[in-house]
């Protein structure tokens, strides 16, 4: 069974639309940081947010009236991916699609609001409108309702590698001949609480930029948005192999977890690696593994430009890899700290690319694409 990427869509801090965001990445642009805070006098955190005017044309579906940003990002990316997929696989029957949703932190904005009211005013103030939106599969439910999907819908939770695990799950589901395709969507939203948590976790940088492969790492900047991929049996980009993923228990074990993933995926044609370098310990683990497995590869990370969007990030990486293969172009790796780091190799158009996703909470996965 051969699987292909039939369609792609993304909503990012650099805007929405496959070609629009890609062109901005090629030009070396990066998102402008905006500060979020709990309120006046409280700590401020830099974030990369989706421009507010990017979602104006979403369908006026009742499910989106009160939905949180994460659901709106997911709907936009999912609809865009299906639209681009139609040119590869024709009209899509919603009863023959499976939806797989990748999420990490979930609907943090409504969750914080819901729980904040409970803490502040007691259980009697709990909102029955907000609570359902705090459930991890709320965004998937909204998207399924918008698309009319009545079959399989799964929400996978995990760290930054969860999007890759969702693609693996889609590969497993596609063994069912009753499915024409899978829509895989990764999404994330950002608020002050999430930033505070990542700062206390010592993963957040106090100000941009994200500096990939810097030693010692200075931290990342969180971002929001969604990425969506339609996985079908035909399409312009082939999915050669998806590694099922592995885990590491301590940060200093991350490199050892990445090495077998990269070794398993790499082949003679793979000259490009879309890395998950985000300015944290992940970068150094990836650097060690890259030196050991594919030292000559051209390495790119979109996170200095788009931020660390956790649940959405692996899907963004896959889209970058697909666009690189199809266009024969590669954006510049921004804010590269040292000349001898993995990102310094010259890009040459290639027919095969690897995508590596090392999350910040113990999970690693990857895949290989080709044209």
């Amino acid at each position: 069974m051969s699987l292909h990427i039939a369609g792609m869509g993304w909503v990012t801090p650099l805007g929405r639309g496959l070609e629009k965001v890609w062109d901005r990445l090629l030009r070396g642009e990066e998102a402008a940081a905006q500060k979020v805070s709990r309120g006046a006098g409280e700590p401020q955190y830099p974030t990369f947010l989706v421009p507010k005017d990017e979602l104006g044309d979403l369908p006026p579906h009742p499910r989106l009236r009160r939905a949180s940003p994460i659901s709106r990002f997911a709907a936009a990316a999912g609809l865009d991916a299906l639209e681009t997929a139609r040119s590869a696989i024709g009209e899509i029957d919603a009863t023959r699609i499976a939806l797989i949703f990748a999420i990490s932190n979930g609907g943090v904005i409504y969750t914080a609001r819901f729980y904040g009211e409970v803490v502040k005013s007691g259980a009697q103030s709990a909102s029955p409108l907000l609570f359902p939106e705090t459930v991890f599969n709320a965004s998937a439910s909204h998207l399924a309702a918008i698309l009319g999907i009545t079959g399989a819908s799964y929400t996978l939770v995990g760290d930054g590698a969860v999007g890759m695990l969702a693609l693996k799950m889609a590969e497993n589901l596609m063994t069912d001949e009753r499915l024409d395709c899978c829509l895989i969507v990764g999404a994330e939203e950002v608020d002050w609480l999430l930033c505070d948590a990542y700062r206390r976790w010592r993963l957040l940088k106090s100000r941009p930029p994200i500096e990939p492969f810097r030693a010692p790492p200075k931290g990342t900047v969180l971002s929001e948005g969604a990425g969506a991929v339609v996985l079908g049996r035909k399409g312009p980009v082939a999915v050669d192999q998806i590694h099922g993923g592995t885990n590491f228990w301590r940060r200093n074990q991350a490199a050892a977890a990445i090495v077998p993933v990269l070794s398993n995926l790499t082949d003679a044609r793979a000259k490009l690696l879309i890395s998950s370098a985000n300015g944290t310990f992940v970068d150094l683990a990836e650097m060690v593994a890259i030196h050991e497995t594919i030292p000559d590869a051209c390495v790119y990370s979109c996170k200095p430009a788009l931020g660390e969007s956790v649940g959405a990030s692996a899907l963004w990486q896959v889209i970058v890899a697909g666009q690189s293969l199809l266009s024969g172009k590669q954006p510049p790796l921004l804010h590269l700290a040292t000349k001898d780091s993995p990102g310094s190799a010259e890009f040459e158009p290639t027919q095969s690319a690897l995508v590596l996703s090392c999350g910040m909470n113990q999970q690693v996965a990857g895949l290989r694409l080709s044209i």
Partner: protein, 331 residues
Amino acid sequence: MMIRALDEALSQDGQFRPEMAVIGTTSGGMSFGENYYRALDQHHDLRHTPRWIANYPPQKPALDALEAFGVSVPCHVIANACASGTNALGHAFDCIRSGKYQRVLTGGYDTLCQLVFVGFDSLQASTPEKCRPFDRDRTGMVLAEGAAIFALENLESAQARGANILAEVIGYGISTDNHHLTQPNPSGIGPRQAMMDALQSAGISGTQVDYINAHGTATVFNDAAEGKAIAELFDRVPVSSTKAMMGHSLGAAGAIEAIISLLAIQHQFLPANINFRAGDEGVNLNIVANEPRSAAIDIVLSNSFGFGGTNASILLQRFHQRPVCDGPIAA
């Protein structure tokens, strides 16, 4: 809880070497997130916050449990609300049946936390009284917590190594009901489709099912929709919801109830639906009311439904020693 459940599962078969884990949960480590939020909000001691934050991600309990037993395999954590446990078991079944995997650890877990407790209460879905699934005077669910784990293996592989096979998984169905984020379509179309898919997946008819372990939360809406779908699809098959005895453990419920279904097969009894007095008007269900009953049970259907309109049904069958053919998966 995950560690205890995994320990119990693995200690029954020391030779079981999983290639993947598929685990369901609803709220994961939410209680750690609550600790962090309260400490932050009330300016309490924040020294423990890194630990709370690191334990908040919903996949963390599953990964911690795998680490405790030195199991380093890909881990897919499904958060399909209250259907998560059955979805995990079902997806694990699909993965093995596709031939891509031989052995998968699967199950579910959830712990009680304030956010979930208050949330269900705000929806008036939980009851301060007795939990009475399928009773006409039902007033809601009682929340619970727990974990359950299955060691699932391709039948040929399990037989070849002489594993003690407890039961077979023979079918799985999943559907999505787009009626409402928290309420099922009153027609029962979502549960009906999931159950029909499970029967089709197993290649059996409804008349071959001996017992249904219902989702049966005792909420007005769930039991009405599920009861309608069961009554339409099955002819007086005995039905009970064991949530009346054990409560609703959300992401763990499907896995726990699959184990109850397996025990029903092993011990040839129908688990009771306690606290039952009289069913809904016009709904023809054969409720196993208040007392367990002995019965010949070969095949059991177990249902789990959740917020977001997720519906999952799984079919378990008594293991009959025989030459291997395609399809069944040993548990």
